[in-house]
């Protein structure tokens, strides 16, 4: 029998992971948060989700078709971007704005910089910041969960705005903040569901604990020590409320762990996480916005290459040369 063998340089076996399998795991991890969004905000949340996912996929497909590049929608990264963007939008967002935001994320932030792996900012977050600037009103009008979204919708202050004293309103209980049912973006409502998804990613070894833990811990310590607490609540309660409300958990678990825009070194991840925590604290404490997660992560995205350059690990047996 004639045998034809493939000759190539070692190794000759491969792990089962692929880019699409990793993206699929991230999508699975986001399902609880999506479900919570739909449960608390109604079917319109599902409509926003479907719109951004479809718009992201279509933007990628059309861009690659026009520029005659290989079509890579099959890697599912555009689906992840679409879901993350929707989770960062209020349920009342006009769908056409969601479409433009999706196109911005995929075409401007991702494809124009060379596509998957080349973008230096998280596409969903960059699009969210763009939308915040372009449609400030629509982007910060939040409704009370379970209250519908039509003419009878009751607009509601987000807990963060209340914490900051920017708007009148009542704070949810910590339990509600954790389980879900507070006003805010679609994906922010349930801390528990975000945590479930994150644990899944940890278990599957898709993400590392360092960035989220350093992010949340540094933010918590700063808020506990230096937070401007005028709520009459204890400082611990105030800090916990800060962690559980707004986009901190969503950002820390799913946005600050984006592979492409975060460091690959151990030390780099710790610095990145602490940097995010510091910036989020600074914006929430001193800024004019109630929320600071998106801007913090994006700013850290931008300095990521710098962090990585200065945190190259010492190689095995390497003796630093005397300067």
């Amino acid at each position: 029998m004639e045998h034809k063998f493939v000759v190539s340089s070692s190794p000759h076996i491969k792990a089962n992971d692929s880019i699409s399998s990793i993206m699929l795991d991230v999508i699975i991890a986001l399902i609880p948060a999506c479900a919570a969004g739909v449960y608390f905000f109604g079917m319109r949340a599902a409509a926003v989700l479907l719109t951004t996912v479809a718009a992201c996929l279509l933007s990628e497909y059309v861009y690659q078709k026009i520029t005659k590049k290989p079509i890579t929608v099959g890697d599912l990264s555009a689906v992840v971007t679409g879901i993350l963007l929707a989770l960062n939008l209020p349920v009342t967002i006009p769908l056409w704005m969601a479409v433009i935001g999706s196109a911005f994320a995929i075409i401007i932030v991702k494809q124009l910089y060379g596509g998957l792996g080349k973008n230096f900012m998280n596409p969903a977050l960059a699009a969210r910041c763009f939308m915040l600037v372009a449609w400030a009103g629509n982007m910060s009008s939040f409704v009370t969960p379970f209250m519908g979204y039509g003419a009878d919708a009751v607009s509601s202050a987000t807990p963060l705005a209340v914490l900051k004293g920017m708007q009148e309103g009542t704070l949810p209980s910590l339990l509600t903040a954790f389980l879900g049912g507070k006003a805010g973006c679609i994906g922010e409502t349930s801390g528990l569901m975000l945590l479930l998804g994150f644990l899944y990613l940890l278990l599957k070894r898709i993400v590392d604990w360092k960035i989220p833990v350093c992010y949340i811990a540094s933010f918590a310590i700063l808020m506990y020590l230096f937070g401007d607490n005028q709520t009459g609540l204890s400082q611990g309660y105030f800090t916990l409320m800060h962690i559980l409300t707004g986009g901190l958990l969503l950002g820390a678990f799913f946005m600050a762990t984006d592979y492409v825009t975060t460091p690959t070194t151990s030390l780099g991840c710790i610095i990145f996480g602490i940097g995010c925590g510091l910036l989020t604290f600074a914006i929430r404490r001193f800024g004019s916005y109630p929320e600071g997660v998106s801007f913090s992560i994006i700013l850290m995205n931008v300095v990521c290459p710098l962090i990585e350059r200065y945190t190259v690990p010492k190689s095995f047996g390497e003796v630093k040369k005397n300067a």
Binding site: F5, K14, T265, P313, K314, S315, F316
Partner: protein, 437 residues
């Protein structure tokens, strides 16, 4: 907690397919082929002529060069040809063809040596003349390894029984079936450095082997159980795990007072003293998802691959890759006609699904290669700079410290082959350095 090193990861090892089956000695092939290059070092000179009758253990090629060991016949019979022939490395090497008469007449020179009456130089000479090399796959002449440069004090003699490559169980079986001989071989090496203690480092997935060694009640031998993690059997990682010391970048194990020998190497040393028989056979793990009956075979060297595979029941289905050695660092063969040599620790036949890399996606900076690199390098950047031909940046990121374990390529979700790119850049750098000299 088992001892280990930083980085690395467990790779599915498929060892249970062969590690319980005793080694089976197979008959010789009709014609045995002996390439004159089965070690790292000088090419040998042929010591026989076409038509000569040779016996088992007889020298058929040797050299005056220090970095060389002789090659011996594993069969008795007539030399029928001497010509360049396909070598497992992929190139053609002058090889001696011997027709097996199946009588296995042993050469008269083969006789035991009494180690107690020998000087250290004589001991090293016996090891050299027995044709012993690093049997794990490196093929570095053992007598050279056992002659460290002047001024280096050896404090640790470590036996590498980690066997971290998937599929491979030949060292495991050797340890189980010839425990006393392996330890005897190790003690000979310890004697060379007047060491009172030697360490055997093995992965924790071989508790039966650890038990077998401990059962000898030899207080001079310490078994060190290591975490089952690739590449635990890499020399630097093994030394780190056992002694806690890091071999300096660009340095040798002797720089931290360590010498590492392979299980089969120790066995061959023992055999060379006990019977006088040089390296003429070895245990080969024949496995992979395309082999019908995976097993360990005791094979007379020079047997063609096809003959060995047929002894393991042949192919179960269409193999796409034929590998000599382990799947992580072994060499792919394109022909079944190549002969087994001293460093053939395994013959693996893998299917397309298991072994062929099909995609080349962009780097998504997942960081797995950085996290798991046992040398704490950044393969994603080394690979990028290597592809761009940026030698300067490659060197800045310590490319020459890469041990080419292949873990980065194994792990890469984009199947981008960082180690392959790194390997090419390293070759370029070595060429450049040679020219500058």
């Amino acid at each position: 907690m088992f001892k280990t090193f930083r980085g690395g990861m467990h790779v599915p090892d498929h060892k249970e397919e062969t590690n319980k089956i005793p080694v089976r000695e197979i008959e010789g092939a009709p014609v045995h082929i002996f390439p004159l290059q089965q070690h790292i070092g000088a090419l040998l000179d042929v010591k026989v002529a076409v038509g000569d009758y040779v016996k088992v253990g007889q020298i058929i090629a040797d050299s005056e060069a220090f970095l060389s060991v002789p090659v011996h016949s594993s069969v008795s019979g007539k030399v029928i040809d001497i010509k360049p022939y396909l070598h497992p490395s992929g190139s053609e090497v002058t090889s001696v063809f011997i027709e097996n008469d199946y009588k296995y007449e042993v050469c008269e020179d083969i006789k035991p040596h009494n180690i107690d009456e020998m000087s250290k130089q004589e001991i090293v000479k016996v090891i050299r003349n027995a044709g012993i090399v690093g049997m794990g796959g490196a093929g570095f002449p053992t007598h050279v390894k056992l002659s460290p440069p002047e001024g280096k004090t050896i404090t640790h003699l470590i036996m590498n029984a980690a066997e971290c490559e998937p599929y491979l169980t030949s060292d495991h079986r050797r340890l189980l079936e010839s425990t006393a001989d392996v330890v005897f071989g190790m003690r000979i090496c310890m004697k060379l450095f007047d060491l009172k203690k030697g360490h055997i480092g093995l992965e924790a997935n071989k508790p039966d082997a650890a038990e077998a060694i401990r059962a000898l009640k030899d207080s001079s031998i310490e078994v060190v159980e290591l975490k089952t993690k690739y590449p635990q059997g890499s020399e630097k990682q093994l030394i780190k795990a056992v002694t806690g010391k890091s071999v300096p970048m660009g340095g040798l194990p002797a720089d931290v007072g360590a010498i590492v020998i392979n299980v089969d190497t120790a066995f061959e040393i023992a055999k060379a003293f006990k019977t006088g028989m040089p390296v003429t056979s070895r245990i080969i793990t024949v496995a992979g998802d395309c082999i019908k009956n995976p097993c360990n075979l005791d094979v007379r060297l020079g047997t063609p691959f096809e003959f060995v595979i047929n002894q393991a029941g042949g192919f179960s289905h269409d193999a796409k890759k034929l590998i000599m050695g382990g799947p992580m660092m072994g060499t792919a063969m394109y022909s079944l006609d190549v002969p087994t040599i001293k460093t053939t620790s395994a013959i693996l036949a893998l299917s397309e699904a298991a072994s062929v890399y099909d995609s080349d996606s962009p780097c998504i900076r997942c960081g797995k290669c950085v996290k798991h690199c046992p040398m704490q390098l950044m393969p994603l950047y080394l690979s990028k700079y290597a592809q761009e031909g940026d030698i300067e940046m490659c060197e800045k990121y310590n490319i020459m410290n890469c041990i080419e374990c292949g873990l980065c390529s194994y792990l890469c979700p984009g199947k981008r082959g960082p180690v392959q790119n790194i390997r090419m850049a390293k070759q370029k750098i070595m060429e450049k350095r040679r020219k500058q000299k």
